[in-house]
Amino acid sequence: MAHFTKATSIKDWLNQRLAIDTVERVMMSEYWIPKNINFLWAMGMVLVITFALLLVSGIFLLMYYQPNVDTAFYSVNYTIMRDVDFGWLWRHVHGVAASVVFLIIYIHMFTGIYYGSYKKGREMIWVSGMLLFVAFSAEAFSGYMLPWGQMSYWAGMVITNLFSGGSLHADGLVEWIRGDYVPAQAFLTRFFMLHVLLIPLAILGLIGLHFGALRIPHVNNQDGEEIDFDKEAKKYLAGDKAGSKVMRFANDFMSKDMMVVGIYLVFFFYLVFWNYGFAMDAVNFDPADGLKTPAHIYPEWYFLWSYEILRPFSVDIGLVAFAFAQVIFVLLPWLDRSPNTVPANRRGLFAIWFWVMLVNLIVLTAMGKLPPEGMFSQIGFVSAILFIVQWLMLPFITMFEKKV
C-alpha cells in the first residue's frame, strides 16, 4: 500500500492522492509546443471553447425544451424565446455556436492537411479528429430535429431516406431508424436522446482520445521542422527560454490561445446578436407540417458539399459517391504516400491538389444550396466528379513527390 504522510497543505494532501503536480507537468508546463506555429494552431482551443459554449447553452435549453411533437415547437419558440428570461440568448448562442463550430472545424482540418499534420505518428490525431467530425455532424443533425419546424421535419425525412440505399429498397431499415413510417413522436424522442446524451458522451470521449493522441507526437509546426523535443526542453528548463525552439503549453502557448479566443469571441458574439440568420434557417420557424413540402429543402451549410456529391448522380451512384465522400478524409494519412511532412506549398503537385480541393469544396457547398437547375446542376456534376478524381489521384501524385 502506498505510504501517506500527514499533509502539510491542501496541495500536498491532493498531491499524495492525485499527483496533481505530475499531472500539471505532463499536461501543462512540460507539455512542449514548438515556437514556430501560427494562430491556426489555436483553432483547437477555439473548438474547445465553442464546445463549452454549446454544452452550457444546451443545458439551459434542456431545462425548458419538451421533446413532444405537439409541444416541441411551442416550447422552443414561445417558452424559450419569449417566456424564460434570457432563453432567447441561450438559443441564439447555441444555434450560432453549432454553425460556427463547423467553420472552425473546417479551418482546423485544412490546417492539418496543409501542414501534413496527419503523418509520421500523428495518424491517430487525424483519425480521432475525423471521428469528432462525424460525431459533431450527428450532433448537429439530431439537434436540428428538435425544434420540430418545417426544415427539421423535411430534412429528417430526406436524410433518413438515404438509408433505404436506393434500389436496395431497404425501407425496413429506414423505418427502424425512424421508429415509424414517417418522422413522428418515436423519431423525435430518439433524436432527442442522441442529441442530449449519447452523442455528447461520445464527443467527450473522443476529445479525450484526440488530446491523448497529441501528447506523444506533439503538435506539428509551420516549417516542417523535425524538433528534438527532449533537447529543446532541457535548453528551456536551463533558462535559455529565448534560444529554445519549444515553449510550455501553459502559460506560454496558452496565452496565445487565449488571445486568439478573445478575438474569436468578439466575432462570435457579433454573430449571436446581429447576424444570426445564417445559423437559424427561416424556414424552420414554420411548424412541421407533413402535408406541405417546402419549396427548397437543403441541409445546413456545413453539410452542403457532401449533399452536392449525392445529388447530381442517379440515386444509386449518388449514394456510393456520398458514402465515398463521408469516409475518404479518414484515409488521408494512408492515401498520401509522400514521406514529406512539410507545408503544402513546398510539395509541388500536392500544393495544387490542396488548393483545388479547397476551392472545389466551396463550389460544392454553393451548388448544394442552389436549386439543381441548368448551369448549377452542371457545375455541381463536374465538381462532384472532380472531388472523386482528386482523391483517386492523390496516391499517385504523392508517390512521385521528391523528398525535401
Partner: protein, 315 residues
C-alpha cells in the same frame, strides 16, 4: 523569419466570406423572387375623384350604401348583428367593424373597394364569370347621384369617425387588417377576437368550438386556413411580409389572400405587432449585445496584453 500570420488570416477570412456570400445572400437571391416595394402607393387605382363630405357620407353608409347591412360600426353605436362565427357562416369571413377602417386603409383603396371589392382586393381570379361565384361584399352601384362623389363622401365619413393615426397601436392595426383571417396564438388572438381567460373549462371549450366553426367557414371561403402568424416575422422576414401585404399576387401568384389595402404607416404597425409576437426580445438583444461586446473586447485586450507579456521572454 517574416511573419506570415496576416497573410494566413487574410486567406482564412477571404475563403470564409466567399463561402458565406455564396450560401447566404447569393443563394437567397437565386431562390427567392425579389419583389420591389411599391411604397403602398396603390398607383394602379385612381385618385379620389372629389372632395368628400362626411355628413352626406354618413347617410350613404347607413342608407343607400348598405354597408351596415353586413358591417358593424361600433364607433357610431352600431354593434354587430351576429356573432363572428355566424357572420362567417354567411359571408365566409366576418366582415370587419368599420370604426377604424378610415385610418387603417388607404383612401384610394377604400374608394375602389366600395365600387368593386374583388378588383381592389385583387381576387378577381377567384370570382370570374365562369366560376359563377360572387364576392361576398356587394359592389356599391350608386345612390342616385354621381357615384364617384358618393364614394368620396363615404370615405370622408369613415375617416372622420376613425382614430387618429398616432392613436392606432400595432395591435389595433393588426386586428383590423389581418385579424379576421389570421390567428396569432402567441398573442392570444383568434379570428373571433382575443381569447378571454375562462374560469370554467366548459366555457373555454365553448369558445374553442366557436373558433373552430369560424375556421371551417373561413377554410371553405379561402380554400385553405390562413396560417397563424405568431412566428411569421422570423420565418418570412420583414421585407417579404411587407411586400406580401402590399400585393400578395406579386409574391404568390394565384393566392387566395387578398390585397389588404393598408397605408404604409399601418403596414409598419402591423409588422411591429408581428415582431411583438415573434421577435419579442429585439430591444433586449440590442442592449445585452452591446454589454456583452464591451465585456468581450475588454477580455480580448487583457488576453492580448498577457500574451505580449508571456512572449517577451520567448524571443
Amino acid at each position: 523569419m517574416k511573419n506570415k500570420e496576416p497573410l494566413i488570416l487574410a486567406v482564412v477570412v477571404i475563403f470564409s466570406l466567399i463561402t458565406y456570400y455564396l450560401v447566404e445572400p447569393y443563394a437567397h437571391h437565386v431562390m427567392h423572387k425579389h419583389v420591389e416595394s411599391e411604397h403602398f402607393a396603390y398607383a394602379d387605382l385612381p385618385a379620389l375623384a372629389a372632395n368628400g363630405d362626411a355628413t352626406r357620407g354618413q347617410d350613404l353608409v347607413m342608407g343607400a350604401g348598405a354597408c351596415t347591412g353586413c358591417h358593424s360600426i361600433e364607433a357610431a353605436g352600431m354593434p354587430a348583428a351576429m356573432e363572428a362565427q355566424d357572420a362567417a357562416a354567411s359571408y365566409g369571413v366576418n366582415p370587419p367593424d368599420l370604426s377604424n377602417v378610415g385610418v387603417i386603409f388607404d383612401e384610394r383603396f377604400l374608394a375602389d373597394l366600395i365600387k368593386n371589392p374583388a378588383h381592389a382586393l385583387k381576387v378577381e381570379h377567384k370570382f370570374t364569370e365562369e366560376s359563377g361565384k360572387m364576392h361576398p361584399m356587394s359592389a356599391f352601384a350608386g345612390g342616385g347621384g354621381d357615384i364617384d362623389q358618393e364614394v368620396a363622401d363615404m370615405v370622408a365619413y369613415l375617416k372622420s369617425i376613425a382614430l387618429k393615426a398616432e392613436d392606432v397601436t400595432p395591435k389595433i392595426a393588426y386586428e383590423n387588417a389581418c385579424g379576421r383571417c389570421h390567428a396569432m396564438s402567441y398573442e392570444n388572438w383568434t379570428q373571433i377576437g382575443e381569447k378571454p381567460s375562462f374560469k370554467e373549462k366548459k366555457d373555454a371549450l365553448a369558445y374553442d368550438i366557436k373558433v373552430l366553426q369560424y375556421e371551417d367557414s373561413l377554410k371553405a371561403y379561402m380554400g385553405k386556413l390562413p396560417p397563424d402568424l405568431s412566428m411569421y416575422i422570423r420565418s418570412r422576414g420583414e421585407h417579404f411580409v411587407s411586400t406580401f401585404i402590399e400585393n400578395p399576387q406579386a409574391q404568390l401568384e394565384g393566392t387566395a389572400m387578398p390585397r389588404v389595402g393598408v397605408t404604409a404607416e399601418m403596414a409598419e404597425k402591423v409588422i411591429e405587432h408581428m415582431k411583438d409576437s415573434g421577435d419579442t426580445k429585439r430591444a433586449e438583444r440590442e442592449s445585452v449585445g452591446m454589454n456583452v461586446m464591451i465585456y468581450i473586447i475588454i477580455f480580448a485586450i487583457f488576453a492580448l496584453l498577457w500574451k505580449k507579456q508571456v512572449w517577451r521572454d520567448l524571443h
